[in-house]
Symmetry: C2
Subunit: 236 residues, 2 copies
DNA sequence: TGCTTCAAAGTGTGATCTCGGTTCAGCTAA
DNA sequence: TTAGCTGAACCGAGATCACACTTTGAAGCA
């Protein structure tokens, strides 16, 4: 196991133990955020013992957290040794996920309009501006963070917790790929076009237009993800 | 803890250890099927040690299986003691789940037409007939078993594993309620109407008609579930 | 009779240990 | 030089134990 493969852990550290939450829940939340943010590369292996060492706990809570992530599709077992790794998606799985996202996030968008308040709209607008700034500066970290914030703020307005958790599950699966997708030519520009269209639809409280903008964003992203899939195979 | 609450376990027994599968995976699969089939009532508590005793294993694999089910929404933590129990859904969660099902299962239905083969169609027809027979005999167990088989056979024809797993997750959440829903007046008749409509659409390879039949089935079931929700609150 | 108290039983959580298996570097022998 | 072997290191899986906490029910008191 080369150290280079473990760069995902370099952004993480020992757990800052908070009361009222189980260790397992904190590890799960930490790793899920890391996966959505693309800290781990597709194919990167996650070892129980090493993870426990980084987190400063025993393997027991780590195991349960990783098992949960496996159940969510954020990790997969690999090889005869049953090592857990970040899934390497193929084209058909990507298509599968894209269509689910179009259905669920498109539906959430139509519901979001009626649940939209001024304060939330300002937060969404803020996230949109920060994305633009990140795109101008070429800051992928800042861009991805605010991209998730932008979308989740919209979907949360739908007031559907179960729907929200399913959407989050989809982002967990594509997270590790997104970081490579943003390097696609013109990705920022095309993506921001959809985001501005969504903002306009939100201001006009036009549910159909918002849904269309969201669906276009997902479709464009899926195209770039497919392209980065080729790179991934080529460099593997 | 009264023994009466534990009737869900009476249908389960010690694990028949199969090779090539981890104990944890077998426990998870067993309990998920039991939940989908409605063996456990909403609010029923699941204890690690008791479950381990029934399964004939230690608590470790049971713990991971239950944690996974909690992550899927099939179980929830309850009270200060963090006991796991079968979730008691409220009306808004039911609405949330219904709409997700309409989106995902409706979408899967449209895809299923092109992936349909004669052999699969015969299996679906068989499940439909068994459902009718169970409805005539008032056999809820047999009805529910073939209901899930009927629907899953259709959705699997879409050839979308991720979509399929998300649909299964939704059934896991409503499973414990369905058993009480089938006692609703005319439930069998209305449900079988939709099923026959689906069969006809399958034979005509009419995607739109199949989608409409599935959506109607889900909507009707949701109405009966809401009604059974009232009973649940009243008897609690 | 009704209330408080307290101990026993039950709960999940996390750490530790053993086990069987895989992986891989380094050595031996052809 | 290379094919094959070997042993150390590492992996996850599962059992067991200690611990803190909650629940519960019966005893004891007002």
């Amino acid at each position: 196991m080369s150290v280079e493969l473990w760069n995902g852990w370099s952004r993480l550290g020992p757990l800052a133990l908070r009361e009222g939450q189980t260790t397992q829940a904190q590890i799960y939340a930490t790793l899920r955020e890391a996966l959505i943010s693309g800290y781990f590369r597709p194919g990167e292996e996650i070892s129980l013992r090493r993870a426990a060492m980084v987190m400063g706990t025993s393997v027991t809570p780590v195991r349960e957290a990783l098992r949960q992530l496996e159940s969510d599709g954020g990790l997969e077992v690999f090889g005869g040794n049953r090592v857990l790794r970040v899934p390497i998606l193929n084209a058909s799985e990507l298509l599968d996920i894209r269509d689910i996202r179009i259905n669920l996030e498109g539906f959430a968008a139509t519901l979001a309009i009626s649940g939209m308040r001024g304060s939330r709209l300002r937060l969404i607008d803020n996230a949109c501006q920060l994305m633009q700034r990140a795109a101008d500066a070429g800051d992928a970290d800042m861009y991805l963070e605010n991209n998730w914030r932008f979308h989740s703020l919209i979907y949360e307005a739908a007031g559907r917790p179960v729907l929200m958790s399913m959407i989050r599950g989809m982002w967990l699966r594509v997270g590790p790929l997104i970081r490579t997708a943003v390097t696609a030519p013109m990705h920022f520009d095309r993506s921001m076009d959809s985001h501005y269209a969504a903002m306009e639809a939100l201001r006009k409280t036009d549910a159909a237009a918002l849904q269309a903008a969201i669906i276009r964003d997902i479709s464009d992203a899926a195209d770039d993800l497919s392209a980065s899939l080729q790179d991934q195979v080529r460099t593997a």
